[in-house]
């Protein structure tokens, strides 16, 4: 006798059997409204869905990483295959740059801004603002009598050479080459390690490659815009790169395009394969027009779940929609159970509905619990996915229990195709249990080998061409995109620069020479500039300026210089210099560099410092920088570790809480320990085999495997419930058929994803294929074998 709560559906069936037209109309209306809401949804494609928003700052780190120089740009390496010929290379670079500009690719840069903008003059005039105590020690050595004589003679000789025509002004301003001190500070601005400047072009050390940087307004996450941009770039390359040269393009847009095209190709392959497979399963096991309604349920609930999310949240993450296909695979479980009971007939449909309601509701409750736990995830994408799946499950249960029984007619004489599927009751139970235990033992051992990989690149499509282009880029130019970033953040430029000064003082002697990139030596804060000026003034006011003027006059006279030849220079020793400013640096030819290292937004200014991203240095600096509030170190390698930690943390929490809640539910529903154990056989077997085989094959566990594991738990618990309900006498053999057929459709729908090339889809496919693939035989063979043993 069904429990009263399940007779609701029996009574509901009887009532609605007299009002079928309104029932169908309401169902269609709900689906129609959901379609409308879903069509209005905004699809959010960016990575924010998979970044924790729990205050762990992983998302902030990710956003900050996007501010690294060259990360948002398209980087093109033009390579000459023949012998070094920089003239030809720079000419070809200019042609390609022009073609890219004409194609509307964006702002194209082939070298620093015109260096004739007066960088040397700028360094000379701003020197008093930039000198440190160490610099003044060097200056003291450079301004002794013999040194003045030597340096002035050198300037004199340069004036006599043809170069003298162009450098007369700088010699007049700085006859003793003091600005070399400023020039030395330029070594902290080496953003591209293996680069030299040739005719104001970025050229590689071997002289065979040129670098072109394109700044585009196309969002990297926008696949349509990325396709358009890459087409423009490819056209420009094809039209302007001469024979004997090649261009390789590295950009986030390329990745977006590769991912988008791979997913499209995968969907085509997977949907075709799974569609054919599901059709074959329906033809073999269902063979009835009523099966058409079962077939319609998954697509209906997809619409309902998408519409509900769109109506409540406005936007849907692309990853949620992608998972919709997964939902399709499990939505037919409940419909399938009801279908087979109704087709089997033998009882009044209302009674059948009441009886089937129990396993359906128990199974749905277990699956709901699994997904509800995922609501606690720190990843917004996973939370939305959980809500989406829960809405889908509720819709699937309601349509299956309320609408479907009215649409499925009993088969003639209750005979179903393919005959009996109760293999589990026919095989020798000892053999079945023996094989099961061996497999469990082997998989338990191998499961310990599974490794967690939190790197987002592990779930992103990286084609061999992209990988080769990245390797080529690093080989040619050095590690220009892989540095760790240190942000000095302030509410305005001055406060950010002050912090940057303190940061530089703290780390400059801890980072290997030539590997630290910082603006601090060339653009100190106003406060620091004032300190430096005062130190400069004190240095020269100590009688040194007069001594130097005397030495210069004497040595100059000997070489034929007029008395006032160096008056402008001498006046700079004591006159207040113009401040070193962003604008000045930009005008002096360093605009690109300044824009790369200073990121300004309303109310926040961040100044970047770059250091090598080695674990030892990052760990040491992280500790060191704790005492500098406002300074934040972001490391790509550490970010991957943090993501990995977040995944492990989330996963451990899910598994513990889900296992406990499912156990509590199963205990509450089945009470008897032996029944409880039987219900859990498919889920335990599915999970152990899934981890075991992944460990055996060396597959890593990533962010997409988590969601798929929850799905495996939900589906496999359902199988256990469906099978064990039969043993209580409240169900009948249609359960085996239902488990087998819905299991096969799940494998056809989701397992086909294992054939996908895209890592995220493949991860879901492999997890479901292994977990559900092991859960089905456990439900169909092991539960009956254990039951027979129990009965004996």
């Amino acid at each position: 006798m069904p429990a009263p709560c399940f007779t609701v559906f029996e009574r509901l069936y009887r009532y609605l059997s007299r009002h079928r037209k309104p029932l169908y109309a309401v169902t269609l209306l709900v689906i129609g409204l959901a379609c409308f809401a879903a069509s209005r949804a905004t699809i959010q494609e960016d990575i924010v869905a998979m970044l924790p928003d729990d205050g762990s700052n992983v998302d902030l780190d990710f956003r900050l990483m996007q501010l690294a120089p060259f990360t948002r740009n398209i980087v093109i390496t033009l390579k000459s295959e023949g012998a070094e010929d920089t003239a030809k290379l720079t000419a070809a670079t200019d042609r390609l740059a022009q073609a890219l500009t004409d194609a509307g690719a964006g702002k194209v840069t082939t070298g620093p801004a015109d260096m004739s903008g007066g960088l040397f003059g700028w360094l000379g005039t701003r020197l008093p603002n930039l000198v440190t105590s160490e610099d003044l020690t060097k200056l003291e050595a450079a301004s002794t009598g013999p040194e003045v004589q030597s340096r002035l003679r050198q300037s004199y000789e340069r004036l006599l050479s043809p170069e003298g025509w162009a450098i007369k002004g700088s010699i007049q301003d700085d006859p003793l080459s003091f600005s070399a001190l400023g020039l030395e500070k330029m070594r902290f601005l080496n953003l591209i390690p293996n680069m030299r400047l040739v005719d104001n072009h970025f050229i590689s050390e071997d002289g065979k490659s040129a670098l072109i940087v394109v700044e585009s307004s196309a969002a990297m996450t926008d696949s349509a815009a990325s396709r358009d941009l890459m087409a423009r770039i490819d056209r420009a390359v094809a039209a302007s790169v001469p024979a004997g040269m090649s261009a390789s393009v590295v950009s986030g847009h390329r990745y977006t395009l590769a991912n988008s095209e791979t997913i499209k190709r995968d969907l085509w392959v997977v949907l075709t394969l799974s569609g054919v497979a599901i059709l074959a399963i329906y033809l073999i096991f269902l063979r009835s027009l009523s099966a058409f309604w079962v077939f319609l349920i998954p697509s209906s609930i997809l619409m309902i779940a998408s519409g509900a999310i769109a109506a409540s949240q406005g936007n849907i993450f692309a990853v949620t929609l992608g998972f919709g296909g997964v939902l399709l695979g499990m939505a037919d479980e409940y419909a399938m159970l009801i279908y087979f009971y109704c087709r089997q007939g033998g009882k009044d449909p209302a009674t059948i509905t009441g009886e089937v309601a129990r396993p359906v509701l128990f199974g749905a409750a277990a699956t709901m619990i699994s997904f509800a736990v995922m609501l606690m995830s720190s990843l917004p994408g996973q939370r939305q996915l959980a809500l989406y799946s829960m809405i889908g499950i509720v819709a699937a249960v309601l349509i299956s229990l309320i609408v479907l029984p009215h649409l499925v007619k009993p088969a003639p004489e209750g005979k179903l195709p393919v005959g009996t599927l109760d293999l589990g009751w026919q095989l020798p139970h000892r053999a079945v249990l023996g094989v099961w235990l061996v497999i469990l033992g082997l998989c338990s051992w191998q499961a310990t080998k599974v490794r967690f990989n939190g790197d987002l690149r592990a779930v992103s499509m990286v084609t061999p061409e992209l990988l080769q282009a990245e390797e080529e880029l690093t080989r040619t130019w050095g590690d220009m995109r892989g540095k760790a970033l240190i942000f000095s953040q302030g509410k305005d430029l001055e406060s950010a620069l002050r912090l940057n000064d303190r940061l530089f003082a703290r780390i400059s002697d801890r980072v290997p020479a030539g590997e630290l990139v910082s603006l601090a030596p060339l653009l100190p804060s106003e406060q620091k500039q004032k300190e430096n000026r005062e130190r400069w003034t004190a240095f020269w006011s100590d009688g040194r300026a007069q001594r130097l003027a005397g030495d210069l006059s004497r040595e100059g006279d000997a070489l034929g210089f007029s008395g006032d030849a160096f008056a402008p220079f001498l006046s700079t020793l004591t006159a207040p210099p113009p401040a070193a400013s962003i604008e000045g640096l930009k005008e002096a030819g360093l605009a690109e560099l300044v824009d790369s290292l200073i990121v300004q937004s309303p109310g926040v200014v961040r100044v970047l410092t770059l250091v090598p991203d080695t674990p030892q240095l990052v760990a040491a600096l992280s500790e060191e920088l704790k005492s500098l509030p406002g300074v934040r170190l972001v490391s790509q390698t550490r970010f991957g570790d943090s993501m990995g930690d977040a995944i492990i943390r989330d996963f451990s929490r899910y598994m513990t809480i889900t296992s406990l809640l499912v156990l509590v539910l199963v205990v509450a529903l089945f009470r008897k320990p032996s029944r409880i154990m039987l219900v859990l056989v498919p889920v335990a077997t599915g999970l152990i085999c899934m981890f075991g085989i992944m460990g055996m094959l060396g597959l890593e566990f990533n962010i997409f495997n988590i969601a798929a594991t929850i799905l495996v738990i939900g589906i496999c618990v359902d199988y256990g419930i469906f099978m064990v309900c039969r043993l209580t006498g409240e169900s009948d053999p249609a359960a085996s058929r239902s488990v087998l057929v819905s299991g096969l459709t799940t494998l056809a729908g989701l397992g086909a994803l294992a054939l996908a090339r895209h890592p995220s889809m493949q991860s879901i496919g492999v997890t479901v294929l292994l977990g559900v693939g092991a859960g089905i035989p456990a439900a169909l063979l092991v539960i009956p074998a254990l039951c027979k043993r129990e009965i004996k």
Binding site: T86, Q154, L159, L160, S161, W165, A166, G560, S562, A565
Partner: protein, 203 residues
Amino acid sequence: MIACVLLAAAPGAASAETPAANQAALFSSLERSAGGVTTLSSDFVQEKHLSMFKTVMSSKGRFYFGKPDRLRWELTAPVASGFVLKGEKGRRWHQRTGRSENFQISQEPVMKLVSDQLFAWARADFTWLKREYRITVLDEAPAALRLEPRSGATAGFLNHLLISFSADGRYVKSVEVHEKDGDFTRIKFLNTQVNKPLQAELF
């Protein structure tokens, strides 16, 4: 005297006197004459009229050119120094310091500017010269030209050049480099020998 030269070289006056067709014919003729030159070797005297110096600073040296891209500029007095250019590469030396260093022309903007000028004069490369300068013909026989830079970067320190060719138009006899502030440098090429074999070690 300088003022007289400058006045005589006023662009408007000269342009009016030399129609475009005559100018083109002169350039072609100079290019043809220089086209037959494979090597040049010459002494030179340089006078620097700079306000930085109390008097005119004179120096002298030797100049060698081998078509298409070899050039040696050697100062012998008052200091011994110089440089050699060969294709993209260069080497400079100073006798006083005893130092010698190799360099890439393209990596040294100032040296590139200088070498472009020297090669253009030596080769009478009017395609390049017309691209870089507005040229006015001051005299046709022997040819004398006034060149005003087109690019802002060059115009930052250079006002104009005055170039005089030999009577047969095969080589440059003198160059004057006039700067923005009125300073100027005059180089006179003497004892020029055309197409005389040059020793390979010179470059």
